[in-house]
Amino acid sequence: MTPKNKFKVCLILFFYVLGIGSIANAGGSPWTWLFSLKMVKVGDQMMMPTAVYVDEEKERYYVTDPIRSSLHSFEKNGTYLNTFNPYNKLLVPYDLVRDDEGIFWIVERGRNSFSKIDLKAKEIVTNSLERDGKKIFPDRIALNGNNFYILDKVSGDILEYDHSLKFSGSFQCKECQNGFVDFVIKDHSIWALDKPGKKVLRFNQNRELERTILLKGPLSFPVALEIDKSGLIYILDSHQANISVFDQSGVLKYDFLAKGHNLGRLYYPKDLLLDPWGRLCVVDSGNGRVEVFSR
């Protein structure tokens, strides 16, 4: 190989490496695309996935697929494992958690139920939840200790239920235009996102509002949030198809990702999760996959 050709090859390699690296870490982001949770067979893709859940003990990811009324499971390294619809009874699954006994609790939009799915006992129980005698519409869910935290889509409040599904209290924002659109439980606090108000509210476990953080950044249609160990706030914007990262004062530190269909790009993303291994998982609804980033 002539020195001229060697130079050309080096140049091509340089730009190739630069290109792969820049999939995610443009604009000062430390995040790099790791892999996608997606189906192996072409034409068998997930359809509009809405949530990802991690079973830390089993080291598995579970993704909800509302159009195919299924759940998809993946290994920790992203390898596809299985697609299942327990006893063909699942109807438009939207979000899920798994308790210590291995029981799945799933928001089934198709029947407005917070359903209990016990695979060992081969049992599915649908639950229509109520608050003060009025039916609620479960949206996002989380499990903390023995309590379920359920975002009610109509009131926009986060409701607390014990394991027997008895309502025990709520986290509210009366001045928020549409209530909350997402929440996470971190450091014994509940962090909730107010979409139109573009702010994050932090509540303690006594349901008292401790702090309101106004997000000072160009957000358009924020749909999900996450908080990392250092306290940085990650906001997923569905219409801008990016993630903005704010500090605890609401100052924008950096943003990353962009709209598109290629690898590492997002199209109407829906949910965000920091998994137990420090990876950032983005449920990319419009591209039928979950993008996983590490730093």
């Binding site: 039916k135 009131s155 269909h261």
Partner: protein
């Protein structure tokens, strides 16, 4: 000595050129008929003969020998007309920098240099659908006093209102309210526009055209004392909506007891579907960013005013809450496209994400800067996303 002479020459040159300059200002009216620049209200630079503050007397890049684009020129002095905070609640001509849509640049017979004699006439030049005769018109509307309720440039309120509707109504109607509304003023006034049309109506009390049957019949059909009426109450008659709202994406909207009344009026409306306003306006009240995203695009979909043509407005499990997949929805109107388009549908997959290709794989229906509402240039950039070998 030579230096003194040089200074004298320079001074003489400067003085003589300023005389010529001043004369040039006056000279504009030698050719341009001065009476055409006179009126009850004259723009300050015109009154002072400072034509060149806006125009270049010799050559310019902009029509009318303007020094800059109209909006930039106006903003040089009128920079406080709009704040930059929320660009979405700005009157369209202001956002487009088209100041002359409402204002005359030189002189006018109306206050604020409005181009029409009466304010209403200026507004109706664009808002042609508002020119209606009502049996019971609202007085400010019939007199063309649009600014009694609306801001002309920018507002933080829906429909560019001066303040929230209830405060606005209360300003003039506090006395009528205590006569016609039980419990007022003890009970807080709310949602006046759900029953009343702000411009006028053919029903007494400016009540909107269509009355919701249970409301017309008896309030107790829905209300039980002071208890708030929940979403489930609406499902008792409108059960088909429940199925739509049980989609993966839906418009169960938060911080209310009843999500239905966020978009629909439970009592009266000018729309047979009981929308609180025109459908696009209702959608815009939450989806401002969607509208702002395509309003200034070079190519936009012609029928984007009626969101319900493509979107299942209550809910669906399709992307962007569409009525069907990206082929079904487009082919409602574009029936023949399937005969000659790029292959789409069953068995045709997008190599970028493995999903079935549809119209919305390449087109962004609301609008883009590319011909045919393509997501990227159809010359090359869009095609090579998948056809990399070319």
């Amino acid at each position: 000595m030579k230096m003194i002479r040089l200074i004298c020459y320079i001074s003489l040159f400067l003085v003589s050129s300023s005389v010529v300059y001043a004369k040039a200002v006056v000279d504009c009216f030698q050719c341009h008929e001065k009476s055409a620049f006179q009126g009850k209200v004259v723009h300050v630079p015109v009154a002072k003969g400072q034509c060149i503050s806006c125009h270049n007397p010799h050559v310019a890049r902009f029509e009318g020998l303007l020094q800059k684009q109209t909006s930039e020129l106006c903003n040089m002095c009128h920079d406080k007309v709009i704040s930059q905070e929320d660009q979405t609640k700005i009157h369209k001509p202001v956002r487009e920098g088209n100041c002359l849509a409402c204002h005359a640049p030189h002189a006018s017979s109306a206050k604020g240099l409005l181009s029409e004699k009466h304010q209403g006439e200026s507004c109706y030049n664009c808002h042609v659908d508002l020119v209606k005769k009502y049996e019971y018109p609202h007085e400010p509307y019939s007199k063309g006093h649009c600014n009694a309720c609306h801001q002309p440039h920018q507002s933080d309120q829906y429909q560019l209102l001066v303040v929230v509707p209830e405060k606005l109504c209360e300003k003039c109607h506090a006395e009528d309210l205590s006569r016609s509304h039980k419990g007022y003023p003890g009970k807080k006034l709310r949602a006046c526009l759900t029953c009343h049309s702000p411009h006028g109506s053919n029903k007494q009390g400016m009540i909107r055209d269509f009355l919701h049957a249970p409301y017309e019949e008896d309030c107790s059909n829905c209300h039980d004392g002071d208890t708030e009426v929940g979403t489930e109450k609406c499902f008792e008659c409108h059960d088909e909506v429940r199925t739509e709202l049980y989609g993966s994406l839906n418009h169960m909207i938060g911080n209310v007891i009843n999500s239905c009344v966020v978009c629909h009026s439970p009592h009266a409306s000018d729309d047979p579907k009981f929308f609180r306003n025109k459908q696009a306006q209702v959608c815009r009240s939450c989806h401002n960013d969607t509208f702002a995203g395509y309003v200034d695009k070079l190519y936009s979909h012609p029928a984007t005013e009626s969101c319900g043509d493509c979107h299942a407005v209550h809910g669906s499990s399709q992307m962007a809450m569409l009525k069907g997949d990206g082929i079904q929805v487009c082919s409602i109107c574009h029936k023949t496209q399937g005969d000659f388009t790029h292959p789409v549908g069953e068995g045709i997959y997008d190599p970028r994400n493995g999903l079935q290709m549809s119209c919305v794989t390449c087109h962004y229906p609301h609008g883009t800067d590319y011909k045919y509402n393509l997501k990227l240039s159809g010359e090359k950039d869009l095609c090579v996303q998948c056809h990399m070998g070319y």
